[in-house]
Symmetry: none
Subunit: 221 residues, 4 copies
């Protein structure tokens, strides 16, 4: 009978504890598509398959929906990233490589980038949520990356660079790649090609843009 119930369709899905999540899913899609301000609560309700009023059974305001989105995104992201970062051993370049490749995979999932994208756009109106994201995600992940770099330096794998600033050199190219694609629709000829981007970036990141001395036909002045 419970199987039957499940098959009856959404009209009979009462007391669904999944409702808040359905609302968040609908809201996330619309916020990304049209922005927070241009999304009407009624749109969210329609996409989630309920009435306008029902949304307010789960969230006290439109802003609370955004807050719910950020909160929901906060825990798994940080945990995933930290899990990888804190269990490494040996050459940190291997960790960086694999994390960036993993990140590349995740970035194809629009749900993973959705929250940062949202925050970039709406941060002015809701700085508190940007700060929440920073506190729960960035303030936990970035220091872990910095420790990784610091250890790599101390153990002789890496040059003595500033770990705090070097984080930007590692992640920045990927962020810019996404931004250019998203904002200006500037992509490489063959598509997003995140894999190729990362390969190209890792080569430069680890070994530098300069040609090896033996390869050089001319000397730099």
């Amino acid at each position: 009978m419970s199987d039957l119930d499940r098959e009856r369709g959404p009209k009979f899905r009462r007391r669904a504890e999944a409702r808040p999540d359905e609302v968040l899913d609908a809201a996330l899609a619309l916020f990304i598509e049209k922005g927070f301000a241009a999304t009407r609560v009624e749109d969210i309700a329609a996409r989630a398959g309920l009435s306008k009023g029902a949304v307010y059974l789960y969230f006290p305001s439109k802003e609370a929906i955004l807050e719910g989105l950020v909160k929901r995104a906060v825990v798994p992201i940080a945990d995933t990233a930290l899990g990888v970062l804190e269990t490494y051993a040996g050459d940190p370049r291997l960790v960086i490589s694999s994390v960036l490749k993993m990140v590349a995979g995740r970035l194809s999932d629009p749900r993973m980038v959705a929250i940062p994208r949202l925050l970039i756009r709406e941060m002015i109106h809701f700085p508190q949520f940007a700060q929440m994201y920073r506190r729960e995600v960035l303030d936990r992940v970035l220091p872990a990356v910095e420790r990784l770099l610091q250890n790599g330096i101390e153990e002789g794998y890496l040059r003595p660079v500033d770990p705090h600033l070097t984080v930007r050199s590692i992640i920045g190219p990927i962020v810019l790649h996404m931004l250019m694609a998203e904002i200006f629709a500037i992509t490489p000829p063959g598509g997003l090609e995140i894999g190729r981007l990362i390969d190209n970036h890792l080569t430069i990141l680890f070994d530098g843009l300069s040609a090896p001395k033996s390869d050089r036909r001319f000397m730099a002045t």
Copy 2:
């Protein structure tokens, strides 16, 4: 006639033909500060020192003000950047260094980053302006950078990397640095320190993160 104008004294219509620009200045400041949607035409008028109705003498709509802003920013930026990029000779790393350092200087001027910042946030609602910016600025500057890299490779200064993707490795870290500061208020302990960021980034960019073989205490596995 311009002499005549000047002699009329500052009180008489001194800004008659400068009015549109003053409206744009006011609008830019407010759009950055509060976002496009949250900025009222009346606010712009007040900050520009004229009446709400007068704004509509110069711009047919609020959206046209944004369009005017993007248009005004488009020409000089591209020209400046192209001027530097296309007059180089010899080692492209010197050009990259000096351009990035120049960029670092410019980035302290909020007016220079204002339009991209605006587009990042409002692009969803006005993709046509993002495309205009792309067409007039990015589509002219990025190919010039790519040519710079291509030449550097052909002349043996640089490794044989993908010029299109490598642009992201050059600019991405700086963009990310600004974004983190702006959205999440994440700055190095001593302030924005754009200069130190660029020095650190150039070291990695040109010579790589890996320790030189002679410095290594351990061997990478």
Copy 3:
């Protein structure tokens, strides 16, 4: 049967047939506290200890709850007052004194004034209930008071005043006292002091505000 009921213990359906009254009790408290419009059916249900839907098992609408309140209040009030008024004999001033003193006692019970208070505030929206209250209570009590006065006049206890209008002179001061306390929080220094008010009022009511001729130091002009 009432014995049986009592033996069933408090836990089992102890309030099954008392439910409507508990709803009314809850509603009265909330209507007085926050007004009819600002009281939500859900609030009433919560205070009465049942669910929102259950309220609609007993009352077809929110308005019907108000109607139920007025109806419930109507019968006992009139009966009590009429009982006292119609069994007097002799000097009507003794009846007036004792009734006013009794009233003073009752007025400390918020439930006694609650309905008139409610009607004063909500009358605009529900004139039919005000008229019901008038028909069932006032139209029975006021004529009785008027007859009391008329008899007192005819029997020589009272001056030949207009009985209809004199009712206002008897009750008005007490009503005003309550109103000022309730609406404007204007009370005598020592509290509501209904007893002192009535003593002062009775003195004036029966013997007048004017000083007895023998006491007067000056003659009125």
Copy 4:
């Protein structure tokens, strides 16, 4: 030409400084007629001859309109009453008589009673306005009446009653008369007859309800 302007009708009445007052007039009529909550801002606008939005040029919220009403009513009422009360000399009964008769006249003007009526009904939702009215009107008028009574007592015109409580005996009957007419539509057979009410009330107030000893056919027990 300015005469012409005035005759052109309301469509051309721009920059009218009278607009806020017109809004208040419209709001007062509707608040009295239907209550604050049941009156829509659009109703007020329509009755005042403007659009919904225009109301918000003059008042920031619906509540502010109510506040404006109370404020507008506060000054002239108190001033009028105080003017009469503080310029008396001699027998205070003459002042009481003439003030009550004046009050009776004023009470026929619905605008004079409108604010207290409003406060009686809406006080729960806007106690701050009831307190403002109290502070500005009642706290100035009532003490003046009490001083009048106190002087009358000290000069031998009046019995030694409590002035604070006696105010209720003076005004209460009139208030009750109005309340009964308004809430329950209970009026004397011949209409409101405020004049007759006051005559009857003054007789009782000054000389008491008890029959003069010489008139009594029976003795009180």
